[in-house]
Subunit: 194 residues, 6 copies
Amino acid sequence: MSDAPAISRFPVPAIADLPEDLRGRILEVQDKAGFVPNVFLVLAHRPDEFRAFFAYHDALMLKEGGLSKAEREMIVVATSGANNCLYCVVAHGAILRIYEKHPFIADQIAVNHRKADLTPRRRAMLDFAVKVALRSSEISEADYAGLREHGFTDEDAWDIAAIAAFFAMSNRLANMASMRPNDEFYLMGRVPKR
Amino acid sequence: MSDAPAISRFPVPAIADLPEDLRGRILEVQDKAGFVPNVFLVLAHRPDEFRAFFAYHDALMLKEGGLSKAEREMIVVATSGANNCLYCVVAHGAILRIYEKHPFIADQIAVNHRKADLTPRRRAMLDFAVKVALRSSEISEADYAGLREHGFTDEDAWDIAAIAAFFAMSNRLANMASMRPNDEFYLMGRVPKR
Amino acid sequence: MSDAPAISRFPVPAIADLPEDLRGRILEVQDKAGFVPNVFLVLAHRPDEFRAFFAYHDALMLKEGGLSKAEREMIVVATSGANNCLYCVVAHGAILRIYEKHPFIADQIAVNHRKADLTPRRRAMLDFAVKVALRSSEISEADYAGLREHGFTDEDAWDIAAIAAFFAMSNRLANMASMRPNDEFYLMGRVPKR
Amino acid sequence: MSDAPAISRFPVPAIADLPEDLRGRILEVQDKAGFVPNVFLVLAHRPDEFRAFFAYHDALMLKEGGLSKAEREMIVVATSGANNCLYCVVAHGAILRIYEKHPFIADQIAVNHRKADLTPRRRAMLDFAVKVALRSSEISEADYAGLREHGFTDEDAWDIAAIAAFFAMSNRLANMASMRPNDEFYLMGRVPKR
Amino acid sequence: MSDAPAISRFPVPAIADLPEDLRGRILEVQDKAGFVPNVFLVLAHRPDEFRAFFAYHDALMLKEGGLSKAEREMIVVATSGANNCLYCVVAHGAILRIYEKHPFIADQIAVNHRKADLTPRRRAMLDFAVKVALRSSEISEADYAGLREHGFTDEDAWDIAAIAAFFAMSNRLANMASMRPNDEFYLMGRVPKR
Amino acid sequence: MSDAPAISRFPVPAIADLPEDLRGRILEVQDKAGFVPNVFLVLAHRPDEFRAFFAYHDALMLKEGGLSKAEREMIVVATSGANNCLYCVVAHGAILRIYEKHPFIADQIAVNHRKADLTPRRRAMLDFAVKVALRSSEISEADYAGLREHGFTDEDAWDIAAIAAFFAMSNRLANMASMRPNDEFYLMGRVPKR
């Protein structure tokens, strides 16, 4: 165990030492996923930031709305690829493969969403998301009009941009802390279940 | 009133229609500042995101720690300048002027922190913050070592990076929504009180 | 006085020691403005360059033509922001606020002219100016056609480009010399006169 | 079959119609790998270019020398990630996983080689390779000296640079032709054999 | 002779020591051109790579097709200028001047093809080539459509892209080896023959 | 004559119609050089700007100082190459070849000054000049210290930076006006006189 690579360049608290609410959330995730994604342990170093981070995450990723869960994960993977964030590409790539039931889609989007197996609608969604990630000061009404041509409402546009913005933060935190993806993520959703 | 420029390209709710907790927070800010900073009204369009945003903001900006309040605002202004975010440069520039009691410091840092009236320690702090903002995938142990030479601990480094990361998100939200700074901010802290 | 921050990393001559024509120009400015903008003192280190610089400046900024004085200053502020030039943003921002009688316009344009309170005509003007500042080798006839759609003549286009080009020089000189804006500029035009 | 996604935006010849030497090479690969990597079929559209491409590939990737086969594939994956080339990241990522017997290494290097499970020697190798890929005009003797500190000879440096250069070409060909990776590559080397 | 500047930072073999086929090719070129272009001597350090390089070169540059020989050299010069490759700009600039019988065209294209004496068709060709050189992951069907408007077929597009891709490799090799252009190239095609 | 390519996209006045001082300067140049460099004719469209431009030019390029005339032209060629300015690369390249009596030096510096036949001192000079041209906001005392190691004084540093700054302007004017180099420049200094 002591030889396992560090999951953060900062101290990682023991689950037993965490505040009750963090421990509860982490055990709940562990029950559901079968393991604890490292982002929970790494951010638990700062309990208040942990609480706000996951509250924000849930507000964007679990809410009802015009974007499917797979589409939200596509936004995460595309912008995290653009920001060269290992943790987010690997962890959210796994979730995307499972939601979309497509074993290749995450690798395609992480490397170059323009060459991925996507409808024009979804390509437009990712073009907008990547522009928010990389050149947000140039976003203009023309970008919103482009989304509307593909049936996205203004509320959808907010969702796309807010997810891209939240992971702009998340990517920077992961890069700063050298957050390591769990080994489990790499293979998830790649082998079809029988 | 109807001729006032829009503060967001998205709908802005009336304060009276907001959930109790949002209304409470907004009225509290209004009492203290004498006006409601537009970020509260613009993000109130999405109450759950509002709650998470300000919880995160408070966890980073109001906590105890090795960075002074003025230093935290310096990080906001430097990275928001790098991201060309009008709202954050103007609003947090005002707060910085007040905290630092220096009427020029915000304009200096927003345009080019290398030419600002700063100690070498604070310049190093902003060099790190701007690298997190613009090239986080290149952050390495050498950057942490550089901070230590100026007396910053690893916990300070997390603070600097986390503030830069949070405003990477905030800048993108403001740019996406064309969030308009309140007129009040432009002059705050520029005229010495007698 | 000896504790005042340096206005240049190069020697700054005493006004009394300057050649007659430089001294005359400087005293004239002082009479009019109430203080001597530092660019006059910093460039006086090189009298021949001083003479040419201000001759060029006047040829572009004081001439008759299709651009108003405020519009010329908008070009200065937008391109100086793009070049991260503290002196020019602060000094010409002050002049712009006064000409335009708009206390916010300079900060808006310096941070992101796309979010400023501008007519489409003026936004097109600044799009062209910033392209000259940052990517002049890509200027094509399509850019001139874009200006004509907003009523700009070819002579106006020359004016816009020449001002952007002159301040490309000026920004580099100010950055090289660490030219410091006078304290007076920061507040000018921000407080309405009664 | 007719519904399979195209592997190239250009015509793909039938194997039976190919010149003898191309067909021979392709069948040989098929025997060994169990399938025909699409790059063989896509480039077979131009037999002379096919011959030169694979002769060059073999001269760099199969020769003796100071770099292991896994290290050569690391160079391919790192530079192809930097060039956003889906085919090369996926196909050579598969080969790298097999050579290195490490199921995560390819994803790590493709997203950000600085965060990968690498020795300092291999990180220096990839720093050099990525500089050749992205900023070759800035390569200087200091870069060669940096490699020597990690035990690389000048001949090794040629190998690193030549592989980076060859895949600079290959990435551009794949991007131009929208070359699609075979489905088989995505899973190769991810599941340990029993 | 010993004072002549090195043509490579790597060892350059004597022609007499080369394998028969390399020596033959080199002597053939010498017969035709009157001197041996340094690329032959520099790459002869690696005979297998030499063979593949020139086989590939010939497959692209000597084949029949929709592009004239001068147009192919234009692609080389434009993309080599974009990659800051001294050898390729100087050597292929010379060849271009001769093929096109235009003493200025190479300098024009190397510095900025948008300002060169070119038909719109050739400008579109070079726009595409430079995009392949610098941003190949963004190539889309719209780029092919743009070429078709100027009469280029898909096979022409492959040729343009493949030449740009081959010289992406060649530029990196020359930059890595500090390959020096022969003195003869600088003047070739500049002085009209009588 | 009517078929000659335009030397400017703006009107070019007849010499006879020019103000006396401009006509005098132009005829003087013509006497000396044997032809009128197009920059004189193109800028004569704006006599006041013409006067200031050449006064500035002369103040920087003709003055006494620590830089040789050839070195000043090297700065022009290196920064004009970085700015992709055809007129300045071709015209000042010609002057540089003549001053330096080196037929290759201008092409070398225009494409990549790091690969040019230069002493370390001159390479350091051009590194500084190109940084002023491209990233002047990052100039720091470390850059001045680097110049001092090669024997440059602070006054030399001003000269280098001011020339880079002046041609930052000049390059943008030439690009904006599509200023065409005279045919004569292309060959000047390439053929040794007997």
